[in-house]
Amino acid sequence: MPEHTDARALNLPWILERTRIWTRRALILALRVSRLVVTGLRHIRPGIRYLWRALLRRWRRSLEFRTVAVTIVLSMVSFAVVGAYLSNQIANNLFQERLKQAESESRYYVKQVQDTFDGSQANDQSSVITLVYDTLKAVEGNGSVIQRRYVFEAMPEQTKPRNRWVESRASDQLTVRVIPPALRKAVQESGKDQYWASTEFPVGNQDHPGIAVGNKVTFNGTVYELYLLYDLDTAQQTLDEIQNVLWAGGAALILMIGGIAWYVTRNVVSPVSHAAVVSEKLAAGQLQERMVVKGEDEVARLGASFNHMAASLQEQITQLATLSQMQQRFVSDVSHELRTPLTTVRMAAEVLFDARDDFDPINKRSAELLYNQVERFQSLLSDLLEISRFDAGAAVLDAEPTDIFQVVAHVIDGASPVAAEYGSDVRLTSRHKRIIVEMDARRIDRILRNLLLNAVEHGEGKPVHVSVAANHDAVAISVRDFGIGMTAAETARVFDRFWRADPARARTTGGSGLGLSIAAEDTKLHNGWLQAWGRKGSGSNFRLTLPLKKGGTIVKSPLQLEPADIHLPGAAPERHMLVLEAGDPPPERGSAVETGPADDPSLPPALPAAPDNDVDDHQGGTAP
């Protein structure tokens, strides 16, 4: 918009113009860059992706990187804001100064021109033309460089006087087209006021930004518009230089701020990351590891208290280790001290037992009792020692890749005399031929033998089913009997030490009452699950799940805990399930639920969800 020169002129149009230029430049640059990036991306996408991931990882893992990056980005943003404000301010001042100059100059020259015109005596064509041209030429200034350009144009729509020999005239090859129409309109419509507007006009072969100041002059009764054009190119160059300096300074400043941020963060973070390294080492068992403490600042206090913590931790752990070692030694010594005389007693009892037919009835019976009870005493002792070895933490897993079927076949083989005695038929079912498991075969053998003998003993002569299955991370062996089964309360206590389902029966079937406790401990050592299910009258099912790899975790057991062969009559069933966890509790519970009614098509859907309660009760009671 053209402005009234007397009013406080706004330089908005000029700014807009400049913004337009910059926007156009930025747009072109952005377009080029994006095209380059797109073509580049197509070729180096994997590299970019790798770089991006590396950066993301760095961002996640390094406090230092994050702080420096955030500092740089934030200072870039704040610098962009401040820089934009500064450059705007400078541009404004430069412009205002130039404008003021242009306005006063214009006023002066226009007055001069008008005075010359008014006082002229010329009345023939050539002298008028000469006068006008010379007068206007004088406006351009008298140096080798044109100081101001002019555009001289007769106002349209006026009666043409007789002696109007000059229609228009301009410096260089300018035409009236370089004058913004709005400015012309303002000048044409006003009285004697001076107006100005920002414009662009060609100088040589370049467009220069400039200010056009418009006035009316009268010559020989003809009203002319006289525009003086002031070149702002030098101001623009100054501004460009200032901006360049500003941006360069900004970039340097941001680099420096980044460096400072890096240095400061490093100073603060390096003790923290040192602490992290030290605590990792501590956690890994290097208890003598300590932080380096320097000075008296917060970091030093952190280090000192960290070291204090580490020291007391070390003390306690060492103490615990000593205690555990002492108990292990004790167990080991007791074991040795008890076993030697027991061996003698046992051998003596056997010698007597073998010779019992030569004794009178009283001595014979005594020899038999002695022999049997020594046997029982010995199995009790060895179970007790085994349990105390677990309690002392002295049990070690001696894992080796072994085919589970070797162990299972061996256990079934070993149990066959007992099974024959009870009239039970032990059946092995599996879709697999060979499953290699990293396990301690001795312990797994012991667990399975225990489960199988229990099943045979409580199976009432009915068949015992052994199933083996595997998925990609676990193997499961379940031992199912169809005997007397267990109630909820019994299932919940089945892994408790010295617990017997039927105290009266236990005396005859023997066993120490520690068998399943030891089995549970053995399972725990393998990071596995040992779970029991039972229903009174329908038998029970024990499921052992082991990770295929030593130290692996089980997500889901390959076998169902609750047997699918249970067919329920209409009456409310009495179903009980127990989950003894030796691995992570959450998947444990999930698997117990998973084997529940929802997944079992053979069960009516309206069953009460009793198992969960059992799980909770039991875990509260026995899970260590």
């Binding site: 080991s332 074991s335 030697t340 051998m347 056997e350 010995q378 072994t402 085919d403 290699i436």
Partner: protein
Amino acid sequence: MKARILVVDDDEALAEMIGIVLRNDGFDPVFCADGGQALEVFRSSKPDLVLLDLMLPGSDGIEVCRQIRGESDVPIVMLTAKADTSDVVRGLESGADDYVPKPFKPAELVARVRARLRPGDQKAPETLRIADVTIDVAGHLVTRGGERISLTPLEFDLLVALARKPWQVFTRELLLEQVWGYRHAADTRLVNVHVQRLRSKIERDPEAPEVVLTVRGVGYKAGA
């Protein structure tokens, strides 16, 4: 002729009881209660087999085992109250052929002793080869490139068992039955430890065995 058995045990009652059982089964027991004198008694009595308690006063049972093994291939059966892996393995590694965990039954002890005393049954002249190792079965001789390799009778039996059926993979249980004479479950660590010892003697590089190969998850077989 009665086989002579040296019983090295500091517990007099147990030693006496073992003596009764052994005598009852037709052996000739000799006793030594002190580990420090075990080697002397061994030299003077020249037993056919040694029953050795792992925990002895004066000298560690394992040390005694090492001393005896240092000068003789006579079978050594350890009596151990410690069923812990490390002790059993340490004992086997120091040269014992077999072990009986306390408390044991008399029959168990006698069975172990007999298994180790199996008379060097008249073997037919037979020459076996595994890799570059030659075994003269009748002459109880193992050679590689004409150089003799000294093996204990147990190690020799283990090697012969593998060499006789080079196509077969032996499970540890099968080896326990064929070499140690166990009919029922036994400690498979016996096999592991003795295979390691055998390898340390006959393999060029025990880390990369060529004679006795491991079949993962199953057992062992003879090399090509």
